[in-house]
């Protein structure tokens, strides 16, 4: 039983990170109706921003939580700006084109970030060790279940960001505009909403969550390299689909479920099937309920 609870805690902390990435997928899908394949690579860049920002910020802020928060913010802002730039240069000119064109462009950007990141003058193809942001302490809870300070940080940051996102989307003017655009872009435009600004803002928000997820992922799994974003990106995408793509609560739920399923598979079946189980879930959900757990299925109009 205690092993099971331990797996649940590990799974939820991994799932919290997937949820943060999944939120970016789902929000971008919500407004633009396409899968931002480059999202996982924006996540990767976030980890590197954190990696390079740490030595600059540490002398100013000292050890401890101040630096951790500053590194997190640097990664979030950096990724947000990267996301806005990608949208501006690559996706905006294609907005009225077929979705397939945009999908290919997204794959192109994904490859560009991966290959350029591997250049020796950029990040280099080798693994780098992410610095320890907070002192690692392990707290033992009831029945031999333990939780690390890193995991606590992951939970606190992830839940705080999710709550903040909820406030932004439901309570602010730009959040209302985002929801309007996701319902009907043309009608929103006729109501005087600046579509381009809303889309840029969505990209900033979604990408900065990926940046936060990247720092949390990198302190949990400190080996970073330019291809690190592919699998977490795909899994987070599965999480978004599982919850119902376009649905913010669904992405959070899907992230936690995928993270738990993955650690359970690794713990009870075999670690080598942890990736396969995620795609298995994806295929099952798309065959049984393509709209996802919380998504609303729409009838196809002829």
């Amino acid at each position: 039983m205690s092993e099971f609870l331990q797996q649940v805690i590990n799974g939820l902390s991994l799932g919290a990170i997937y949820a943060l990435i999944a939120l970016g997928y789902t929000m971008i899908y919500g407004v633009l109706r396409f899968i931002n394949f480059a999202h996982g690579d924006v996540f990767m860049v976030g980890a590197y921003i954190g990696f390079y920002a740490f030595p600059k910020l540490q002398p100013l802020l000292g050890d401890g939580y101040g630096t951790a928060v500053a590194v997190l913010l640097a990664a979030m802002i950096g990724c947000g700006l990267l996301g806005v730039t990608i949208e501006r240069l690559a996706y905006r000119p294609l907005r009225s084109r077929p979705k397939l064109t945009v999908l290919i462009t997204a794959i192109g950007i994904s490859l560009f970030l991966e290959y350029t990141g591997q250049l020796p003058v950029v990040f280099g193809a080798d693994y780098k060790t992410f610095p320890t942001l907070i002192p690692e302490t392990t707290y033992t809870l009831f029945g031999g279940v333990s939780i690390g300070s890193t995991q606590i940080l992951v939970f606190v940051v992830a839940l705080a960001l999710m709550a903040a996102l909820r406030v932004v989307v439901l309570r602010t003017k730009i959040g209302t505009a985002m929801r309007a655009v996701s319902m009907n872009m043309n009608a929103a435009s006729l109501m005087g909403i600046n579509i381009n600004r809303v889309i840029s803002f969505t990209f900033f928000l979604g990408s900065s969550l990926a940046g936060a997820g990247a720092v949390l992922y990198a302190i949990s799994y400190p080996k970073i390299n330019p291809l690190m974003g592919i699998l977490p990106g795909l899994k987070a995408f599965v999480a978004a689909v599982l919850g119902g793509i376009g649905n913010i609560a669904g992405a959070t739920l899907g992230g936690f479920l995928i993270g738990t399923a993955e650690t359970m598979t690794a713990g009870y079946i075999s670690p080598s099937y942890r990736d396969a189980i995620v795609f298995g879930i994806l295929i099952l959900i798309l065959i049984l309920k393509p709209s996802g757990l919380l998504g609303k299925g729409g009838a196809e109009k002829v």
Binding site: R97, K99, I107, I109, Y115, L282
Partner: protein, 327 residues
């Protein structure tokens, strides 16, 4: 010239061309020969994916998965079932048998993937096929009798330039012929307007499954050729990036244009090799080649999304490919 005979004349011409080229290819270095054979294999992959993506309009991102099934099935058949072959005659015979085994195994995989996936459209289908490709890779990594993550080694090198390109000619012939029959128009109908096709009595599900299975069959044959050329295959050779590579060939060539796709497969296989040795202003491009490759893709989508040859068929007629298949 009789219109009935004309396609067969093209077929004979294609085979004759390959036979002539086969005499020339013996004179080039082994490194260049390897590039040429890889180009041929990629052409088969791209032409077969074009049936699914280009002609039937079903966006598949799992082609490398079918290729790996064919590669592993044929390689396992050659190494475990067939006796060793010494003379070119029996080598060729064994290769054909092994390729058929690989192709059929991949076709079965195509059927298994195709039937459940066909409820989905557009980017969802892309993701599911991607997922299937990854699952096939993970399974191969965990089957120890097939070498696991280390791969299957010591596969006899039966693949030659001649075999690759003769098979390419046949694949092109079959796909181009099928597309031009009354039956084959059904594929285009599914792509152009699925609902209208359904209303006209076209069995869209059946067409999609057939496209998937036939595409997978040819991908399996390409995988078999790859396995018998490289004599070592690893699950990682057939990852997501390989699928993307094949998709890019189809997109660049222009979806639904067989000859454009063939050209794009050659260009995109050669481009990274060319950039490897290319120097300009004292900058060596070898480091940047994959970045350039991806930039080419992005720029292409921005300026010419229908691909280089999209909208044209072989004789320059405007084809239905002008209209984007998925939207």
């Amino acid at each position: 010239m009789s219109t009935i005979l004309r396609p067969y004349l093209y077929l004979a011409g294609g085979i004759a061309l390959v036979l002539v080229l086969n005499l020339l290819v013996g004179g080039i270095g082994s490194y260049d020969q390897r590039i040429v054979v890889n180009i041929g294999i990629n052409m088969i992959l791209a032409v077969s994916l074009n049936l699914v993506n280009g002609f039937t309009g079903q966006f598949s991102l799992g082609h490398a998965g079918f290729m790996s099934v064919g590669a592993y099935a044929s390689a396992a058949f050659t190494t475990m079932v067939l006796p060793a072959a010494s003379d070119p005659m029996s080598q060729g015979l064994y290769l054909i048998v092994a390729l058929l085994v690989g192709g059929l195994a991949a076709a079965v995989a195509g059927l298994l993937v195709g039937v459940p996936s066909l409820r989905l459209k557009g980017d969802y289908l892309a993701i599911v096929t991607l997922g299937f490709g990854e699952i096939i890779r993970v399974i191969l990594q965990n089957v120890s009798s097939l070498g696991g993550a280390l791969g299957l080694a010591n596969i006899p090198r039966h693949t030659t330039f001649l075999w690759v390109f003769i098979i390419l000619v046949f694949v092109v012939f079959v796909i181009e012929r099928v597309i031009r029959t009354t039956y084959g128009k059904g594929f285009l109908a599914v792509r152009d307007d699925e609902i209208a096709a359904e209303a006209m009595g076209v069995n869209t599900t059946r067409y999609k499954v057939v496209a998937f299975v036939v595409g997978a069959f040819f991908a399996g044959i390409a995988g078999g050729l790859y396995a018998h050329y490289n004599s070592l295959i690893k699950p990682d050779d057939f990852g997501f990036l390989k699928s993307v590579e094949i998709v890019v060939m189809v997109i660049l060539g222009g979806m639904g244009s067989t000859y454009g796709v063939i050209f794009a497969a050659a260009a995109l296989t050669y481009l990274p090799e060319w950039l490897r040795s290319f120097t300009m202003f004292g900058i060596k491009f070898s480091d940047f080649r994959m970045s350039i490759y991806s930039l080419v893709l992005i720029v292409l989508m921005l300026v010419r999304p229908q691909g280089l040859f999209g909208g044209f068929s072989f004789k320059g007629r405007r084809a239905a490919a002008k209209k984007a298949p998925i939207g």
